[in-house]
Symmetry: C2
Subunit: 264 residues, 2 copies
Amino acid sequence: MTSLDATVSPTDARAAIRRGDWSNTTTGIANGYAQANLVIIPEAYASAFLRFCMANRAACPVLDVSEPGSFHPQALGDAIDLRTDVPRYRVYEHGELVDEPADLVSRWRDDLVTFSIGCSFSFEEPLLAEGVPVRHMAARTIVPMYRTRVPLIPAGPFHGNYVVSMRAMSPADAIRAVQITTDMPSVHGAPLHLARPELIGIDDIHKPDFGDPPVMEAGDIPVFWACGVTPQVALMNAKLPFAMAHAPGHMLITDVPNYRLKYR
Amino acid sequence: MTSLDATVSPTDARAAIRRGDWSNTTTGIANGYAQANLVIIPEAYASAFLRFCMANRAACPVLDVSEPGSFHPQALGDAIDLRTDVPRYRVYEHGELVDEPADLVSRWRDDLVTFSIGCSFSFEEPLLAEGVPVRHMAARTIVPMYRTRVPLIPAGPFHGNYVVSMRAMSPADAIRAVQITTDMPSVHGAPLHLARPELIGIDDIHKPDFGDPPVMEAGDIPVFWACGVTPQVALMNAKLPFAMAHAPGHMLITDVPNYRLKYR
């Protein structure tokens, strides 16, 4: 079993995943390169989903939309194969999770369109580089994520509420984090909310809906960003006859350096 | 008695003040133009005070330093007379307030240097223009200001703790306000702190040290900016034999449009 780490190249990481030598989370792998959430749906729904993404850009910042039937995301790396290069996928039928396969080769169809959506992993490195501690990374846990009561703008069958990721930090670091992430709109951009979780429907900050419980220090406030799990929740809500996605935490590792996502 | 309002020009406002026809606060007068805090000290202390300003830029953003003996701040308007154009001044001897005159004509000296320091009034208009309510303006009260326990970097005789102004707003507006004020570093720039007043030594948010009690709505958090009262506190702490300043709230109205302070 290959062991992947922060220093591996995106090409080598994807090769190991493609061979079936890595089926774990992609957190902490190939540092410096953007990872992407995937939503894979029939072309018949692609226009509505694109409208949904445009209407809810903070939650669904689109990095690439593939040609129908193509499994190559042109903007993210020439050698990527969307059917094989993610450690684990999810298959939905009528909104129900029916399988978690390691590849999509046998399920691929000529009418599938893949949306690659930016991920907050890409702004964690700039935060660290500018001196803002990221507590869940230091603790080697998964970032806590919460369902909120903040509604998304619906489009076609796609609807739901925002899911947010949370990073706890000092108020001064929260201000710095707003500045840093404002410049990275394609990986969720500035926070949606901070300091008062109850205002967005989070009743217990210590019990996230996804990920691990938060690591908080004295004097910290919670800072909330729109999360790439949001489009997957909207996808489930849409109850399409057939749809696929990456499994949460098991992302597409792209050839795009995180610094390229500044100002775009 | 002349009545000055938001629509008067800076030239007309200063003329009324110079004639002695206006001795009140300059809040809400000549909207659209920057107002400045003044610190007026003998040249012997000017170098130390400039070092102090450079070391504590968020609190002391310098807009202009006059030539010794000159009462014309070159960067702020050709026709300004620093001796007469502020509604009320303060005179300090050895750190004690000894007078609050309406002009400084009889007290002017050939060795005086005037520091004009940016004021948060200048970012309140951009906040409003971009949809962030400013509660104390709507309520027609003076912005609440607080002494903190956050120390300034000392320089020569100048030292003390930050004084902060506070505006209460929703968390989403606080994030927007960070973005807007980040672009205006010469009028205090981004907030210093938010959400948790006790962390910077503010024990009761409802009892400010200067200004009026805060106007807060349900769901608001307090957002704190470095305040132009800070240099005046440092000036008092320095206990110079002789020093002068504007009286708080009675500012110099300049010819500089607020929009000119974006990105500088």
